[in-house]
């Protein structure tokens, strides 16, 4: 592989590190297995048959490519940059999560694994995993924090309809981080037959790399589509960050295009100053959790603290290691949006474009609303509309004080 010192796209190194971040901080029991996943992935990556199969399912089952849509009314209302949405919310199952699940389930099948596990926060990754498991007839167990089970009830029911077993997790804050702990515990006990489909660009190497690769289809399509529509590269890319997979999927293909600026939006919850947020880059510091070193919300004793966000998919005290690296290098700008800003953006998009965004990309939209008015009219801004909001209507209703 060609390595150039001034490329941002060659990471991680062979030990899974992005600079200081990443790595394989796992119990010895898992080590041989994640080395096996790495070998299997490296072989699949250069196997045309693997890509042929993946592309087939992405096209005919997921519905790719997803449209790149010029949001004309929103653009007019904001009065600045031309705003485009990458409509990954139109994928089968309603979010970008399925891009990754499709890649990983094909990998699991190549490895001869017969049982799938996953963690989920918003339930989107759980639904996407349950979906591909139904498609390929593999039993699956989804770990989900009991707090999230409550606030994402429609997705829990969807997973069950798809034949998945949903295991409530009550330890810790009973959200995404705890679901990930329990999924890892399950994996340690079932290494022989089980594959863990991690839902974001985090976890031990090679997961941050392979999840990023499977999501990069987003950015690759944007490059082609925008070229057809505008004949050039975008100027600014905007995406929300939970663990960071949809953002990396959009950003990664453009990282070496210096003219393209990138903005990632963390969840500021009730406000950074309140301490009740999920902004690990803005409000955390480097540490080791879930198999990798990255920025984490934690106290002075190295205990991980609880994240807060109205959006279950962003409610995670860490972030994928490649983002920590891009943050330190300042290649990507990391900002945040509060629960309230996300809600306002959610309502605006419904009215002005007829699209209910998921609360996760509503955070990205909040940043677009702040930023676009100050940009020139020929500035091309692409936001990853990575999920649809149907799953969030109960949460939004509750936040607006409306009883359904």
């Amino acid at each position: 592989m060609a390595t150039s010192v001034n490329s941002y796209r060659t990471g991680p190194d062979e030990r899974g590190h992005f600079g200081l971040y990443g790595g394989r901080y796992v119990a010895e029991t898992l080590m041989p297995l994640i080395l096996e996943v790495e070998r299997a992935y490296n072989a699949a990556k250069v196997d045309p048959d693997f890509h042929r199969e993946l592309n087939y399912y992405l096209k005919y089952y997921v519905g790719r490519p997803s449209p790149l849509y010029f949001a004309e009314r929103l653009t007019r209302q904001l009065g600045g940059a031309k705003v485009y949405f990458k409509r990954d919310e139109l994928n089968h199952t309603g979010a970008h999560k399925i891009n990754n699940c499709m890649g990983q389930i094909l990998l699991a099948r190549r490895m001869g694994k017969t049982r799938i596990i996953a963690e989920t926060g918003a339930g989107q990754h759980g639904v996407a995993t349950a979906t591909v498991c139904a498609l390929f007839n593999l039993p699956c167990t989804i770990y989900m924090g009991s707090t999230d089970i409550e606030r994402q009830a429609p997705n829990v029911f969807r997973m069950k309809l798809l034949g998945a077993e949903v295991k409530p997790v009550t330890s810790g804050s009973a959200t995404l981080k705890d679901a990930m702990n329990d999924a890892l515990r399950d994996w340690v006990a079932n290494v022989e037959n089980t594959y863990y489909i991690i839902g974001t660009a985090a976890g031990p190497h090679p997961f941050p790399m392979l999840v990023r690769d499977f999501q990069s289809v987003i950015g690759e399509e944007v490059r082609k589509q925008l070229h057809e529509m505008e004949g050039r590269l975008p100027d600014t890319l905007v995406a929300c960050i939970g663990g960071g997979s949809n953002a990396l999927g959009l950003f990664h293909p453009f990282l070496d295009d210096r003219s393209v600026s990138m903005v990632a939006v963390e969840a500021a919850g009730l406000g950074l100053e309140t301490g009740k947020h999920a902004a690990s880059l803005t409000g955390g510091k480097p540490g080791v959790l879930h198999g990798n070193r990255t920025y984490l919300l934690q106290d002075d004793d190295g205990q991980i603290t609880e994240a807060h966000s109205i959006s279950a998919g962003l409610d995670y005290p860490g972030i994928g290691p490649e983002h920590s690296w891009l943050h330190d290098l300042k290649r990507v700008e990391y900002v945040s949006a509060t629960d309230q800003e996300a809600l306002d953006a959610f309502k605006l998009l419904a009215k002005i474009e007829g699209i209910l965004p998921a609360l996760e990309p509503a955070h990205a939209l909040a940043e677009v609303i702040k930023r676009a008015p100050n940009l020139p009219k020929d500035h091309l801004l692409v936001m990853n509309l990575c999920g649809r909001g149907d799953k969030d209507v109960f949460t939004v209703a509750a936040a607006l004080g409306i009883k359904l």
């Binding site: 080590m31 515990r185 006990a189 022989e192 080791v288 959790l289 984490l296 004793d301 190295g302 205990q303």
Partner: protein, 273 residues
């Protein structure tokens, strides 16, 4: 000679296997935890393994998770754990090895170098860092070595022949064989498989081999003691500490029972050692 090496030398001399107990530092509170720790050597414990609380213990089952939460509520921290070891040493025990077991993040945040220096000063002898496989322990190892602390590595049922040399290379003190595929406090391993694995590991190292995970009763401990250099009892003890009543007394009484079983279980195949 380090306390760990001296202890295994003595066990060899006496022709018996050792008992290692795991308790969570500060569980259910500092005073009780220290009280239990002080009573362990007399109850027959050969090596004390002390857990360092972490919020996200991914290799631990419900019993140890709950112990961590109890300790956390009672104010446990890395600093307090080191204080507890120092206080244990001050009360007169300068022989029983103390091994800290935990996860990397609290050590990383404390500072690996400062942590090793302070641990040594407190009277710690070795470190088991569950989520620091050989591939990642280069940030801790030099500081541990500089301070004379053993880095105790874990071998598991998945550590195959190709990987084993990597695990034993650079390990010191002893090898901790994890007897089950899984987390602490859940299932128990079959003794035939444990014996086979211990014998396999012995071929690639002269270090003592200690077996843990899933050992809950005096009988199981005695069985393991026949094939390994020591047996670890953790979750079963931690559950007693989490129970009601005089936990110091009931914990130590349980430990005595296990120690008797282990110590009277003569080791087989001693001749070729």
């Amino acid at each position: 000679m380090s306390r760990i090496a001296a202890r295994f030398a003595r066990l060899r001399q006496e022709g018996r296997a050792g008992l290692v107990t795991f308790t969570m530092a500060g569980d259910p509170d500092y005073a009780t935890s220290l009280g239990i720790m002080r009573g362990l050597p007399k109850a027959g414990v050969d090596i004390i393994e002390l857990g360092v609380m972490f919020s996200d213990p991914m290799a631990d089952g419900p019993a140890v998770q709950a112990a961590g939460l109890r300790a956390h509520k009672a104010g446990a921290s890395v600093r307090r754990t080191l204080d507890m070891v120092a206080e244990f040493r001050r009360s007169g025990d300068n022989e029983t090895p103390v091994v800290l077991m935990g996860y990397f993040n609290p050590i990383y945040i404390f500072g690996a170098e400062a942590f090793c220096a302070e641990a040594k000063k407190a009277g710690v002898d070795g470190l088991i860092v569950v989520d620091l496989p050989p591939e990642e322990d280069h940030e801790l190892r030099p500081h541990a070595i500089a301070n004379g602390l053993d880095i105790i590595r874990l071998a598991t049922p998945t550590t195959d022949a190709a990987r084993l040399p990597k695990v034993v290379e650079g390990a010191s003190g002893f090898i901790y064989y994890v007897a089950v595929l899984g987390i602490t406090g859940t299932k128990s391993g079959a003794i035939e498989q444990i014996q086979e694995s211990v014998e396999r590991i012995r071929k690639s190292t002269d270090l003592p081999i200690v077996v843990g995970f899933g050992i809950k009763t005096p009988e199981q401990a005695a069985e393991v003691a026949r094939v390994a250099d020591a047996a670890v009892v953790g979750s079963a003890l931690v559950e007693i500490i989490g129970g009601k009543g005089d936990t110091v007394r009931s914990a130590l009484r349980f430990v005595e029972g296990v120690a008797n079983a282990v110590h009277s279980s003569r080791r087989k195949a001693k001749a070729d050692a």
